[in-house]
Amino acid sequence: MSDLFSKFDPIIELRETLLESGQTDPFNLVMERVESPTVAICNGKRTILLGTYNYMGMTFDPDVVAAGKQALDDYGSGTTGSRVLNGTYAGHKACEEALKDFYGMDHAMVFSTGYQANLGIISTIAGKDDYIILDIDSHASIYDGCALGNAQIVPFRHNDIEALDKRLKRLPPEAGKLVVLEGVYSMLGDIAPLKEMVAVSKGAGAMVLVDEAHSMGFIGEHGRGVAEAQGVLDDVDFVIGTFSKSVGTVGGFCVSNHPKFEILRLVCRPYVFTASLPPSVVATAATSIRKLMDSADKRAHLWENSKRLHAGLRQLGFTLGTDEPQSAIIAVIMPDLEKGAAMWEALLNEGLYVNLARPPATPAGMTLLRCSLCALHSEEQVGEILGMFAAAGRATGCIS
């Protein structure tokens, strides 16, 4: 009998080798207590959080927390049902209303996670003879949406407008086409040239889906994302987003102006065949989304934090994922997994948590220390963070 687990042997071995060296497991950290959006207790030590995607710091907002508690009292702990059966409460509709107001769009559909939003929308709208044209650095949920459906998949080189244009022109003019892009690519924190890419896609008769998971609440005048910032939101057919970043809870969504959009509620399997979000979660989401509409000052402070961290890390001699700060993600490129893991542990010992990211999640086989800033990081905290990077970088020989 062959062991079905033998296919995992290479990754088991890689992991064992890393941990034998005495390295703390970077993928097994426990947050023992969480004090605020920017501070938690890990291994008994006060730790600044710089890897949470909690961009707008809404997780401890008093109004958000109060809305969740009220919903727990009023509606109970869970819906125990699908959105299309017994799982749509007043709170789910209120959450979709908040999204429609936030984006200024006609339709909104809330999923149980952001992953399921991509899985559901992509696999459902692109059928067997249709084409999905996607950036090769797309998130796993986009690739999995492609794999769940049965459309023809055409990848193009990351952020390459000409590569996209050429491929669109080679496809049959009459075929259905869905171009899938992201506003911010989460590994390096770089943004897409959406203005040009959306124009090229529309010119070829394609529909356009943009995943704005890492830009919602922060980028664009109203926090609607990179498509808003570049003035092309009106030409985007579907915006995908998540509640687990700026919104500060969990869940996913799609907003659209397509006149037939509502039919998706009946035909989209990752929407139908799963339980809906608990009432407390949609209550916190709706409250948070409405507060994010009016958060220009926080957006400005987050940009300041991002610029300062980027400039400071550069000055220390680290290699970064982008030449200038483009989002609230700053990726520090490490020479290899061993050095990356050592640096990650040294930072943790200093009292700083960042994400260690490695292949296959990262492009070009890179190991990254990914930092995501929060609007509630104070100026002093950003100063502390830079001090910790300097100390850990020198201790591990990453910088001189």
Binding site: P155, R157, K166, L171, G365
Partner: protein, 80 residues
């Protein structure tokens, strides 16, 4: 030269710079096992082939192409 041998010659030329192991390449050579290309190298190579022959090789088709010979066959069909 026939169309097929012209295609083969061009494909071999495009494989050469990515043939880091110095493998002796024939139509039977497998991209993953023999050339030991990772997924990123494959993506790069496919993009180059697509531009050279002005075709689209979807990921669905790529899943069926394991050897150099199978790629030549696929290109023949795509250009027909």
């Amino acid at each position: 030269m026939s169309d097929r041998s012209q295609t083969l010659a061009k494909v071999l030329e495009l494989i050469a710079p990515l043939n880091k192991k110095g493998v002796d390449v024939s139509e039977a050579t497998r991209f993953a096992q023999d050339l030991e290309w990772d997924s990123l190298t494959v993506l790069d190579f496919v993009a180059t082939i697509e531009d050279e022959f002005d075709v689209i090789i979807t990921m669905n088709m790529q899943a069926e192409i394991e050897t150099v010979g199978q790629l030549i066959d696929a290109l023949g069909k795509l250009q027909a």
